[in-house]
């Protein structure tokens, strides 16, 4: 075996889904869905668009900062803004989000300062934010691990008799991981209040969706004993509505839901990747027509919810944010040597204490010596 497997019958459905919850067409036309209603105020529509614009601006700026040598690496979310903002905005303040390393849009919609996210990619910390401040977990780099943490957290909610809920983010690549499948089983068995939010961006670095699955990912949920739904991940309204419904379902004790947000990774896996080696630009061109920001903007214009003044002000705000990020990133201090040894243990360790003291006296031995100051 190996090489190319025979084409399964459902391959077309993998990439060109017919079943897809949509409330906003790529042209910005508002449509209805029998299962998912969404009524928002004008202000809420504008806020969603604002989040999308700010998220993209942060992403573009971070990519530029990496190119300028200010960040070691950046994992771009280009194209996935609506999936992240829609699902992030569906959460209540007490709900908890467990991200991968690409959920910058969720972070922004949770109120996490995007500058904080850059520390990890600049190399000044391995995480850097207090997960409990905005109920937004630390980025998890080993694929899928966080889905089990989310499941455990949801089991804790059950024991607290609270109506909080949890959302676990992961991608199409992670859907192959054992941890994700264990998380499905545990959540189902314990009926945990959790939403599994899979951003199917169709690429796991260079590996296409067909290397992870032979059926649409949302259909896997059925085998685990809970509902799965596929939503247009480039439609912020549909993503919001579907996630909100799944969270409500979790809150009322009906257990987990798997949401497959069907989207496309418009950029590289990270700034270290070169997608021209493994995918066609024609795919990219087709997906550009489904851009999540353009369709929301078209909708706002069509509905007369945003005039030129609104869009100009938003552009200005995004530009200001970019400047703040740029300056904040460049002036981010390097961690001190003490940070190397800090927080390995809550209750300390004589081993760490000894190594810290030895290293500090080693460093001190250079003080005053010719050309060797640290």
């Amino acid at each position: 075996m190996g090489g190319n497997a025979p084409t399964p019958a459902g391959t077309a459905e993998l990439r060109e889904p017919t079943e897809l919850v949509q409330l906003l067409t790529p042209e910005g036309e508002r449509v209805t869905h029998p299962d998912y209603e969404l009524t928002l105020t004008d202000e809420e529509y504008r806020d969603l668009y604002r989040d999308l614009v700010l998220t993209r601006r942060v992403d573009v700026e971070a990519t530029a900062l990496q190119r300028q040598g200010e960040l070691g690496i950046w994992a771009s979310l280009l194209g996935q803004e609506a999936a992240q903002v829609g699902s992030g905005r569906a959460l209540k303040p007490n709900d908890f989000a467990f991200p991968t390393y690409r959920e910058h849009g969720v972070a922004i919609s949770r109120g996490v300062d995007p500058l904080t996210l850059l520390g990890l990619f600049r190399g000044v910390s391995n995480g850097g934010w207090d997960p409990f401040e905005k109920n937004f977990g630390l980025y998890c780099i080993v694929i899928g691990s966080q889905t089990l943490h989310a499941t455990g957290y949801a089991m804790g909610i059950q024991r607290d008799s609270s109506d909080d809920a949890v959302i676990a983010y992961f991608g199409d690549g992670a859907s192959s991981q054992g941890d994700v499948n264990e998380a499905f089983i545990w959540s189902a068995v314990f009926n945990a209040p959790i939403v599994f939010f899979c951003q199917n961006n169709q690429w796991a670095i260079s590996e296409p969706l067909e290397r992870q699955t032979r059926i649409p990912l949302y259909q896997r949920a059925r085998g685990f004993g809970f509902p799965g739904v596929r939503v247009d991940g480039n439609d912020v309204l549909a993503t919001l509505a579907v996630t909100r419904a799944a969270l409500d379902r979790a809150r009322e004790g009906s257990g987990p839901t798997l949401i497959e947000a069907f989207t496309y990774r418009m950029g590289a896996h990270t700034t270290s990747d070169d997608p021209t080696r493994y995918r066609l630009t024609s795919d990219l061109e087709a997906w550009k027509l489904k851009d999540p920001l353009e369709r929301m903007k078209a909708f706002l214009v069509r509905q007369q919810l945003g005039d030129k003044d609104f869009f100009d002000k938003l552009d200005f705000e995004a530009e200001e944010l970019a400047v703040r990020l740029r300056e904040g990133c460049r002036s981010m201090p390097n961690p001190s040597t003490d940070n190397l040894f800090a927080n390995v243990y809550v209750e300390g360790s004589p081993l760490i204490d000894e190594e810290r003291a030895t290293f500090q006296s080693y460093l001190a031995s250079f003080e005053g010596s010719h050309g060797g100051s640290h």
Partner: protein
């Protein structure tokens, strides 16, 4: 004062922790109605309910991964890994998440999780039921690793481990589960991070932990009875961090050290002790630090485990070799 087995002492210690702190949960395979395959959690589900003593799906990564989530929610989970050789599916969650999440958070997160693992051989079991994987965990920054050797320590150490705010891998010497001792629950226990001098001697220091403590004590008693060398015995108790103060004080007196452990010797706790003793007590040493250990083979079929496991004779042979320098 009642005689109690090591297994029952662990059970009583767990019960005490659950009574003291409502956030303490037990999770593992068969820990509920069955009370665990070694009955360490016997009766706890009946008394504390299914929400606090959780029979989990058979997925070790899930046990540790969900424990991390429960800890993030404010709980204090105690995970039972059924046998030493079953811990590897959970290895990623232990090493990449449990050990590193607090450091990653810059001090915002604590994960007070205890992972109990019955370890070591000598019970005639099939493959994967007799291993000594402690070095993997001692090698990992962010974890603390301890091993109890007797019922009194079992009772107190499990409570101290659960109360600790750092993640701890807690090794239980499964072949000693049925050994008895007097337990006075009113005594003030030693700190968790201290080794213990069990027997004073003049000529050689034997350092052991877990199931090998009894072997070291037996060797010291036999040597004494035969008018042989006078052997000092230390129960290490904490494997990471090591209590080098207690070890070095002894080696500085005797000038000789032998580490006794079931684990393969290559890159082991015994190796680490040999290196540290050599670095810190070089001028006190009359002989190189020797290791009496399992072999660098997979754990053998049980009909060969008597050959594999260090015993009294192999310890005394090492004593002779040490004294010959």
């Amino acid at each position: 004062m009642a005689q109690i087995t090591l297994g029952k002492a662990l059970n009583e210690g767990l019960r005490k922790s659950m009574e003291t702190d409502p956030k303490v949960l037990i999770m593992g395979e068969d820990v509920g109605k069955l009370g665990g395959v070694f009955r360490i959690t016997d009766g706890l589900q009946k008394d504390f309910g299914e929400d606090r003593v959780i029979d989990t799906p058979l997925a070790e990564s899930g046990i540790v991964g969900t424990a991390i989530g429960l800890a993030l929610r404010g709980y204090r989970p105690v995970c039972e890994i059924q046998f030493d050789g079953f811990v590897y599916p959970a290895f990623d969650q232990i090493v990449t998440q449990l050990a590193k999440y607090p450091y990653r958070s810059g001090g915002h997160v604590r994960l007070p999780i205890t992972i109990r693992i019955p370890f070591g051989g000598g019970i005639g079991a099939v493959e994967h039921h007799s291993e000594s994987p402690e070095a993997y965990f001692a090698h990992t920054a962010g974890l603390k690793v301890v091993a109890c050797s007797n019922p009194v320590d079992a009772y107190f150490m499990i409570q101290q481990a659960i109360a600790c705010d750092d993640p701890i891998v807690f090794f239980e010497p499964k072949r000693r589960y049925w050994e008895k001792a007097d337990l006075d629950t009113a005594i003030h226990p030693d700190p968790l991070w201290q080794a213990r001098l069990l027997r004073e001697g003049r000529d050689v220091t034997l350092i052991a932990y877990g199931p090998m403590v009894k072997v070291a004590l037996d060797a010291a008693a036999a040597s004494d009875k035969d008018g042989g060398p006078s052997l000092e015995v230390i129960d290490l108790r904490t494997l990471s961090p090591l209590d080098m103060d207690t070890v070095l004080a002894s080696v500085n007196r005797t000038g000789r050290a032998i580490v006794v452990s079931e684990a393969p010797s290559n890159c082991s706790i015994a190796s680490e002790l040999a290196a540290r003793i050599t670095e810190k007590a070089f001028y006190s040493l009359e002989a190189p630090v020797l290791r009496v250990s399992g072999f660098d083979t997979p754990y053998p079929p049980s009909r060969l485990e008597e050959e594999y496991l260090p015993d009294l004779d192999r310890v005394l042979d090492a004593v002779d070799r040490s004294l010959a320098y």
